[in-house]
């Protein structure tokens, strides 16, 4: 094994003096590990100059002690055996720094998450493992070196992907904080799911009424660069300096600005709508859940932002009638092509939202087989005054007003069959209560039947809302619907359910059934998250950095989460998280610079044969070959290097030094484990 010497240390490394601090974490660790045994053992280890233990090492006294002992014992390195470095490494690095030590002289031994908590009934085994963990950490600490984080300037701009209520709120907050914000939306208009809703629970204020002002603000905001019909195509760089490529899909329509840029004075789309009527092609309007028509050149609805028409190329026949109708404004360009736009931002917020899962896969409920079985989103459009029926709820089969309407909760949620979703979709209970209220209010004599397993009304004023709806006359039946049968003649739908509280099966003929279908991440979420290196949980929702303490962050520095893309959320929660994410995303930008962990690669030139194998291995093009006093050697562009070490793992000559994960350090850990302890 090639024994590399760091290119940074010219002087011989001093004899290490390591301090070991063992944490009880109350009984979290001490409960299943014999602390004294570990302590006594640590004293016997080479290079260990001081050993101590404490109930809560992360507490102030614990940190102060570390600080004082560094000085008192002339420590060259510090090992804390406690929880996971992913939780408290920053804490103890700070403590080491306060003690006058370079923070990167600190090493952590994880004896909680990966020991005491997973070996609770094997005290002996856990204690042995803890001893080894300390030994391994000490071995590394003895070889750690001073490192100095590189601080890089942060681009004074942010990006928000997805312009639903969460994305809009985040963008507005950032913009109001004086940060230029690119707001990327794949649809032709901002507003997202919320703009499809009629009323909102539990306050019952009209969704459009409270949302459209926000949409207008977004459209007007100085600091917001709005890009609709756009998708993230590629991402490079790191916190402070993300280079993002956006695909702006050809809409076939020029905004006034774009027209101006093309020298068409006073031209561009004004949203006058002259083009629509002349278009010969009719298609279903996705915004109306395909229950209303639109033309091949269209807007979703009158309140869209930006108020620009869009051409649906899949159905456009390029007859040119719209071009004529548009006339002097010359807003329509049937030859328009997608364009790729490059932007540089310091931080990014993902707010890609949710969609309804294909509920027709739960065949027992007959969605798409039975006319009068619809989803909640379809219900929202049918009950909405601006919807396809002007807010008059009708059954799809015959346009009649339904009087007995069933609401099937947990339709595909809390489902372990592999067809539905194992999780609770979180807002179905509440909007179904709202739907019940809406029909009682709008249709005199109409009776809602709510088939539920549990009513989860956990939010502020939610339980009170439940109380109100029950009082208004909604029928609550505690049972999950097993199947639905359609009467071939009347098209009425009969629901089969057990009233589990009565212990009695029920056969209830209804005019219409609304499925509160489970939700899932939007189609593009997976592609987008991979571009930003964000992980997801098994069910596809984006993974937060810490479920409790960092719910907006991700494991990619500078990338944050807002709204339902992180898990099903109602409007208040989405907006709240959006504001959290916006504040988190603005911090590095306001600081103006971020410190990057100095884990970059370095070339040990006397060992480098200049073979260049590593150059192609680097996913970030951070390596290159250069001539240096007559020899070809590799050179690292530190700003580009993210410290993955793929080059170091390959270099045949061991000529690459990975800061903080150097070959001698890792080998020392391996040896310490296998050769160090009693054999």
């Amino acid at each position: 094994m090639a024994e590399a010497v760091s290119p940074t240390t010219s002087k011989k490394p001093e004899t290490p003096r390591i301090g070991v601090f063992i944490c009880h974490c109350g009984t979290n660790i001490a409960g299943s590990i014999d602390i004294d045994a570990v302590k006594e053992y640590a004293k016997t280890l080479p290079n260990v100059a001081y050993v101590d233990d404490y109930k809560y090492q992360c507490s102030m006294p614990g940190q102060v002690n570390i600080r004082e002992q560094i000085d008192a014992n002339k420590l060259t390195g510090v090992v804390v055996a406690a929880c996971t470095p992913r939780l408290h490494e920053p804490t103890f690095r700070a403590a080491s720094k306060d003690g006058g030590l370079n923070p990167f002289r600190f090493e952590m031994a994880n004896i909680r998450e990966q020991n005491s908590w997973v070996h609770m009934h094997d005290r002996e085994g856990a204690t042995e493992k803890a001893k080894d963990a300390v030994r391994i950490a000490v071995a590394k600490a003895a070889l750690l070196e001073d490192l100095y984080p590189k601080s890089v300037p942060v681009e004074r701009a942010a990006m928000v992907v997805g312009a639903g209520v969460a994305g809009m709120q985040a963008a507005l907050d950032l913009a109001n904080a004086g940060i230029k914000t690119y707001l990327i939306e794949k649809e032709p208009s901002i507003g997202g799911r919320m703009s499809q809703l009629d009323k909102t629970f539990p306050t019952l204020d009209c969704s459009q009424c409270i949302l459209t002002p926000k949409m207008v603000d977004v459209g007007r905001a100085e600091n917001i660069v709005l890009m609709v019909n756009s998708e993230v195509e590629d991402v490079e760089g790191y916190i402070g300096n993300f280079d993002v490529t956006i695909r702006r899909k050809a809409t076939g329509v020029l905004s006034p600005e774009e027209a101006e840029a093309k020298g068409i004075v006073g031209g561009g789309c004004t949203g006058c709508g002259d083009c629509g009527p002349v278009c010969p092609v009719t298609k279903p309007n996705e915004f109306e859940m395909n229950m209303a028509p639109r033309k091949a050149i269209y807007i979703y609805h009158p309140q869209v932002v930006p108020l620009l028409y869009t051409i649906d190329w899949d159905s456009c026949v390029k007859c040119g009638l719209c071009v004529e109708a548009c006339g002097e404004k010359k807003a329509i360009d049937l030859e328009m092509q997608d364009e790729l736009v490059q932007v540089k931002v310091g931080t990014v917020i993902l707010a890609t939202g949710y969609e309804v899962f294909p509920i027709e896969n739960k065949e027992e409920w007959g969605y798409k087989r039975y006319d009068n079985v619809i989803t909640s989103l379809e219900f929202e459009r049918l009950i909405c005054a601006s919807g396809p029926t002007g807010g008059h709820l009708v059954r799809p089969s015959d346009g009649e007003t339904p009087m007995r309407i069933g609401f099937v909760l947990c339709a595909g949620s809390r489902d372990n069959t592999g067809i539905g979703k194992p999780y609770c979709s979180r807002f179905c209970c509440m909007y179904s209560l709202k739907h019940a209220h809406q029909i009682i209010e709008k249709i005199p004599g109409a009776v809602p039947y709510i088939f539920y397993m549990d009513i989860r009304s956990f939010g502020k004023m939610y339980e009170e809302f439940y109380y109100r709806i029950q009082d208004e006359g909604a029928k609550f039946i505690r049972g999950r619907v097993s199947n639905i049968q359609e009467d071939p003649v009347t098209k009425n739908v009969t629901v089969y359910v057990e009233d589990t509280l009565l212990g009695r099966p029920m056969e209830i003929e209804l005019d219409m059934v609304v499925l509160a279908a489970a939700v899932q991440p939007t189609e593009l979420t997976n592609k987008t998250r991979k571009l930003f290196g964000v992980s997801c949980s098994q069910d596809g929702w984006l993974l937060e950095a810490h479920p409790k303490l960092n719910p907006c962050g991700t494991t990619t520095a500078g990338v944050f989460l807002a709204g339902a893309c992180q898990g099903p959320k109602d409007i208040p929660d989405s907006v709240a998280q959006a504001e959290g994410a916006a504040s988190a995303a603005s911090i590095p930008i306001h600081k103006g610079e971020v410190e990057l962990e100095p884990y970059y690669a370095m070339c040990i030139e006397e060992k480098c044969a200049g073979c260049g194998m590593c150059v192609n291995l680097c996913p970030y093009q951070a390596l290159s070959l250069v001539e240096k006093d007559g020899r070809t050697v590799m050179q690292v562009t530190e700003a580009k290097c993210k410290g993955c070490g793929t080059c170091g793992g390959f270099c045949p000559g061991g000529a690459i030094w990975m800061n903080h994960f150097a070959t001698p350090q890792i080998v020392a850990q391996i040896d310490a484990f296998l050769l160090g302890g009693e054999q």
């Binding site: 999950r480 089969y496 589990t500 099966p505």
Partner: protein, 193 residues
């Protein structure tokens, strides 16, 4: 459960203790069921989907959800002595629809197996056993049918154990291995004399 020893047996029954007491639960019962049925019966969350689609529920007091509950709580006696246990037509609708991906039908079959170990089993089931023991068929051939087969140009007996009775020995060996025939005879005799 606390027993009341009032002198009047009618009152005693009328005022029978309806409390659930922990000692009525037998955790082994739940385990036994899961072993036989190969489904995580203890994961039932009582949504009622099973009963709602059950063809027997609307025409009897049979509630498969309640049997699932008994499986969860280990209410062995209550489950095995309930005559409703034998109303399941094994149509598997509940199994196909259970959101917890359990197999209530197989839980019922497991309970029936456990009941049968206590000789709790309807006579008609045992008569099928007797028929198969003697003829190899649960629904044996008869002369009317033999004539009919002949008329159709078929052999009077199908090429099963009816045509090759020498195979019946093997069947009897299998059933005797489990002593099922004797048990069937004994139980039927007890019930019908």
């Amino acid at each position: 459960m606390a027993t009341k020893n009032y002198p009047d047996p009618i009152l005693n029954e009328k005022l029978r203790d309806r409390y659930y007491h922990r000692d009525q639960s037998n955790p082994e019962f739940t385990k036994e069921i899961e072993k036989i049925a190969g489904t995580m019966a203890h994961m039932c969350f009582q949504c009622g989907t099973c009963t709602a689609g059950c063809p027997s529920a609307p025409r009897s007091s049979y509630r498969i959800r309640e049997f699932m509950r008994r499986a969860v709580l280990g209410l062995e006696d209550e489950a095995l002595t309930d005559p409703d246990l034998w109303f399941c037509t094994t149509c598997y609708s509940c199994t196909d629809r259970c959101p917890r991906d359990l197999a209530p039908t197989d839980v019922i079959m497991a309970m029936r197996n456990l009941a049968a170990r206590r000789d709790i089993v309807p006579v008609n089931f045992l008569k099928t056993v007797q028929a198969i023991y003697s003829s190899g068929h649960g629904v044996p051939n008869n002369d009317v049918n033999r004539a009919a087969r002949e008329k159709l140009g078929m052999t009077r007996d199908p090429p099963t154990t009816s045509m090759y009775p020498e195979y019946i020995k093997g069947i009897q060996k299998i059933l005797d291995h489990y002593g099922l025939k004797e048990r069937a005879d004994r139980i039927i005799k007890e019930r019908e004399g």
